[in-house]
Symmetry: D2
Subunit: 300 residues, 4 copies
């Protein structure tokens, strides 16, 4: 089994102008990202617009990616669905395809009903029936439901649950997960702005939307930290904050895709109701990205 660590990119799902899947473009993008020092890829995370795809489309995405992603990189498939049965079905399919890990988002529509024991039973059943290890995916900014450190650590004791992507943005919670995690359980931050702090308290890496567009910056930060060069790591973190904010909070998936178009990747449109950004916003994104990725610019 591969080790779940490093800087991982949760890549967008390309569509053509009719909002149909553009699988060839996905393949070309992945080839290009595979030439960077990224440790791996998530297909159909939140940035991958997983909620907008049918089951058949999801399978096509995983299949295409499995053909392209090199074996020395980690490949995760976002297989979480609202129902346990659909989650199991898709996870099994991905496992048979040869995906390394299934990343399973918390079911969340019936929030009040999703008590810890309900979530625990859901994840345990999925883990039991999955041929590949499960990575928990906690993303309350979208699900509006938080998996706390206590539940995550209970699940961490299951042999087929081997990590968590915590995108809560709650640093104390991530720190608590790092403090309590058993040997072999990887805590990854989902917030590029928390990367340095997360590494400091013991995170194994990050699954970072910003890594789709600022891969070198993310990897450099991690390497600076590992070399013990905190001053350099802090400087890189300061450069990472604005570009991360731009492609997540401020301009979202549409913005990120437009920026990828400008970087020579295929971005294309998001699916409706999401939209492409205005031309002004694209220029702003390019400006922020250039500033973040340019060494000479003086940063505090």
């Amino acid at each position: 089994m591969k080790e779940l660590k490093g800087i991982i990119a949760p890549v967008p799902t390309p569509f053509n102008d009719n909002e149909e899947l553009a699988l060839d473009e996905l393949g070309r993008n992945l080839e290009r990202w595979s030439q960077t020092k990224l440790s791996g890829f998530v297909l159909l995370g939140s940035t991958g617009e997983f909620v907008y795809l049918t089951t058949d489309e999801k399978k096509a995405v995983f299949q295409k990616a499995r053909e392209v992603v090199p074996s020395d990189r980690i490949m995760l498939a976002g297989t979480g669905s609202e129902s346990t049965r659909e989650t199991i079905s898709l996870t099994r399919w991905a496992g048979e395809l040869g995906v390394d890990f299934a990343m399973v988002v918390t079911p969340a529509y019936y929030k009040k009903a999703m008590k810890p024991e309900i979530l625990r039973a859901h994840y345990i059943e999925v883990a039991e029936k999955s041929p590949i290890p499960i990575v928990l995916y906690n993303v309350p900014i979208f699900t509006m439901l938080n998996m706390d450190a206590e539940l995550a650590m209970e699940l961490a004791s299951h042999p087929n649950i081997i990590g968590i992507k915590d995108s809560s943005g709650n640093f104390l919670q991530l720190q608590e997960m790092c403090r309590l995690a058993p040997e072999g359980f990887s805590v990854l931050t989902g917030s590029a702005s928390l990367l340095l702090a997360s590494l400091t308290v013991g995170a194994a890496g990050g699954i970072l939307a910003a890594a789709n567009v600022a891969f070198d910056l993310c990897v450099d930060l991690k390497e600076a930290f590992e070399k013990g060069d905190l001053a350099r790591a802090r400087q890189l973190q300061n450069r990472l904050v604005p570009i991360n904010k731009a492609v997540t909070v401020d301009y979202g998936i549409g913005g990120q895709k437009a920026l990828l178009d400008r970087m020579g990747f295929y971005g294309g449109p998001p699916r409706s109701p999401l939209r492409r950004p205005s031309a002004d916003i694209v220029e702003e994104l390019v400006r922020v990205h250039t500033e973040a990725c340019t060494e000479e610019v003086s940063h505090k």
Copy 2:
């Protein structure tokens, strides 16, 4: 076109013990509910576990219901999905089937991106392409996204958007919608506990989970109000509050289904991760239901 008003039941979707669709049971339930004074039915609202069904299963549910629901009752189909394309596709299908109205929940996964102009464009596109009138469905307790009175009223000016189910629980917001709604636009409360107050400020009725199990109580309240018997209406409202709380907040869909089993309907299990309630809870539900539906019990 039918008028959207009265007490409407958002019925549960029956599954057998393997969590497969139980369409015959759905048919029998609808036949029985059709013998009450309920004004109509929603298929695949939140109580109908719509997030757990595949598109094919949704179509099967609509088809079965269309065969059974009498023509003098309103039939609404929950066709809202995260993507605009899927929403349109399912809405068209339901329209061709002869459903009266499509009830379209707000897309909500990418909350920060779902700004008013995005939601407006989504609903306008759906309304333009739908053969049947659209009913807005605002249910922030699940979506964690609120459609406020301002946006609802903008959409209300579209000729093919003819009502809203506001399940926000925010009475001031519902009152504001009633105050500002154009002629012919129906505001329905989604909270049985707000029924009397909602009627007082001009609501056309309610789509009430509690009406699945306490149909007569809901209808009696509405009739008492219409006769001007406020004291009686208040007494009935006081009886409705505890049973409504029990089948929504406290024990959810699993509880409601178990209570239906005890009432001679088919309840069955919800889909996982939702669960059946414990035997104790079922007894408590039966007790609360009996007390609510028994006239002799003295209520304040």
Copy 3:
């Protein structure tokens, strides 16, 4: 003991241009309000800027008001403080002065510590040591702490706690308090926009910031409701909503004082950091107030 009911005005506290107490102006305002059909007055509620006054200033306000408020009106004194000892001390002083009721806001700074049993003990001790009856004051918009129906009803069983002003804006909670309140315990809404709905479910009246400037409108609504003229009451409620929003949510205490100045009362400035509104806002307030209080304007 007077009965706690009707429309009660939580009057502002006048300051001169140096932000010093303007007691004579307070007296003249109260004389004028006493010529309306208002049932009574609260001195030093939230609208009275109680958090900005020293203990000595509070006593001066109560004393001046006691001299002016006629004996056929209810007089409430806002005596709640963060500490139990200060609350008791001021409540005793107000009781000896001959105030009818003490309105006691929930202590709230240490929110997590203010568990129900802590609040209960606080209120019980205050009620035991107070020579006059206590009115609970729940205003989470400012305290960010809610007293729920369960705790309010526990306290309602104490013989010296005779009512609650619920300014939560949570209509379901107010309805629950009305449903469960013992004989002789008055539930008053603190939200003018909820007045009609609150009366419908059994509230005894309201303590309404809007009543400072739209006293006749509030009283007319209550009288229309009591005569059973729901259509008229609904029309008045629709007129009350915008002026209430203007003097509370939109333009606050500074706005309300500026409007009072234009109505021939003394408004004056609030204490810093609160501010007077701009001239534009004052004109807008006058416009909204005029529209609300003018019968001829057609309202839905």
Copy 4:
């Protein structure tokens, strides 16, 4: 002017069994804390129960502390009040007394009115009229109002505003303040559980309730970090988390005072409505404190 940095203790205010100020006990406590490596003290922060003291009592506390705190330690006085006039008055008094810095909490009762421009004007006026430098105090857990990095940085440009205690618990916000702060402006965390991460991103230190009882642990962590021993710093942070949680979130001021009693300081009771903890809780606190402060105990 002293430099605002290091580990600073926001000491509790001692009361006797009648809840009267116990100034001699305060003096003795401060003498003892002054024998540690703590950098300084805050009198009448939130842990100091400042909301329960009269103005005269506050002055007595500052005076006693000024007599006892050695000149090589930083002394801060919590002088923030709801009104601007009271804040200025008390800040001037503290400045004349020879206190080093005034720590000024955000006024917060009228939350919606406390817009950035209102807060800015408040702080600028206080800073202009204060003889000593101002430290901003952001503690949304109590005020339920957040001063964001943008407003803090605007205020940071004023020559008499020299730092902020950010107790938001929002690490991203603190990091943003560190990233943007001008030379000479000190960002201090108010959360002991964030100490290591905060130092990593450039904080000057912390004002930490946990430092009242775990002073050596806090200082050791800071020294390990400064020596570049991240592994040791992380181990100390892991030990600090549970004791910090115990004396803040779990058992509050009453708990902290009881623990101080057991450590040979004077703790005594908090003022009502706050309470002493039960005997069980005191034992638990002693256990957690001992475990945190004992080197031999193996920590991950």
